[in-house]
Symmetry: C2
Subunit: 227 residues, 2 copies
């Protein structure tokens, strides 16, 4: 893609991993953070990891203006505050890909449990808070952050929720820039109620099996699902 | 296994498919139904499909007494009533594998949505209703009933929830009698809150992709997970 991909909360494990994999695929990235110096620090680390990659580090609100498809990878605890702070930064027509998961860890509970979100899911909370004309989608809940941030080959699916197939298709094109990830249309945004808790289940499986598990949907036809 | 596997609601699509695959694996089966004549009818059909297989058809309460590991494959709408009717039939020490899913279809809503169950999941409702000493586990939500009831090879996982690994291991041994199914330890029974809704998500995916999808957990070690 010609335009860079802003990653809000890109200094966290998931955001950094996403940035690393996209940068390796030749995609320009903007790492956003609440603190400009931390954004620049992460960007510098990424530039070192992927020589020649186009990577900027900026405060979240500036980062959010840099491209049409924005990933939100902050912890759930910070999601609402972050979106409040982005009210003036996000603009009509942008896609906001929410990757947050309402783990009970956010309220000092277990990471293998979730908390109920009034709107039904973190993604639907994001949709309620996003400025008019900004479309929220939901993705990347089942991809292990440490794996994404490492060198191992990937071989798993990313479940994308969103109300319009055309929007999901654009997000799928970004995700499928990453080798070994297949984007699957998991339905309208409300299906994030089902997909987000998978993170909690996988965290349990990771502990039990000493691994970094992911999800694969079996039985899908081989054709390009997004054409 | 020497002892037969009772399948309560075995005349339905999932129960019948489970019976068929287990019978093909040489396992003795007891098909239970509310109506004895329907149980016998399904049993006769299975005997025809798998010549030489040991298959009985009995009323649910009689079927439930025939083996130590009982599968419950009734629709969610009938789960509570069925368990009330089994109060005298189920006995201490038995394992009850709940396969029901609280789809909103049960209250004339969409099959791609779920209803909230007070106890947290259908499996937890079953645990509350089961007689003392009967242990409830949860499994088989992501395996397509029509696929199970057909001839196609399987290649997917079954997520098992239950509070004790030793119990899950016994259920896993039954499920892994079926060629192409791998049983994965998805955690304590409460994780059924996360696993049950996957059926709704997969029903959506099936419609969208014109397929019968299933789930595979990626990244698990190759070793026998249940030893």
């Amino acid at each position: 893609m010609a335009e860079p991909i802003p990653i809000i909360g890109g200094t966290g494990a998931l955001g950094y991993g996403l940035g690393l994999r996209l940068a390796r695929a030749g995609q320009a990235i903007v790492i956003g953070s609440r603190k400009p110096e931390r954004a620049e620090e992460a960007a510098a680390k990424l530039r070192e990891a992927v020589p020649g990659a186009e990577i900027e580090g900026l405060p979240n609100d500036e980062a959010a203006k840099r491209g049409p498809i924005v990933f939100l990878t902050v912890p759930f605890r910070a999601q609402s505050e972050t979106l409040t702070n982005l009210k003036e930064a996000l603009a009509e027509g942008q896609l906001l890909v929410d990757c947050t998961v309402p783990l009970a860890a956010a309220i000092s509970g277990k990471a293998t449990r979730t908390v109920g979100v009034w709107q039904g899911s973190a993604a639907q909370q994001a949709q309620e808070m996003a400025p008019d004309g900004v479309t929220v989608l939901s993705a990347l809940h089942t991809v292990s952050a440490p794996v994404l941030a490492g060198d191992e080959p990937l071989d798993e699916d990313v479940l994308i929720c969103g109300d319009k197939k055309a929007d999901k298709s654009r997000v799928a094109a970004v995700i499928e820039l990453i080798d070994g990830l297949r984007a699957v249309n998991a339905g309208p945004l409300e299906q994030a109620r089902i997909v987000e808790p998978l993170t909690a289940m996988l965290i349990g499986i990771n502990g039990r099996y000493k691994t970094h598990a992911g999800i694969r949907i079996t039985g899908l036809p081989d054709a390009d699902h997004w054409s």
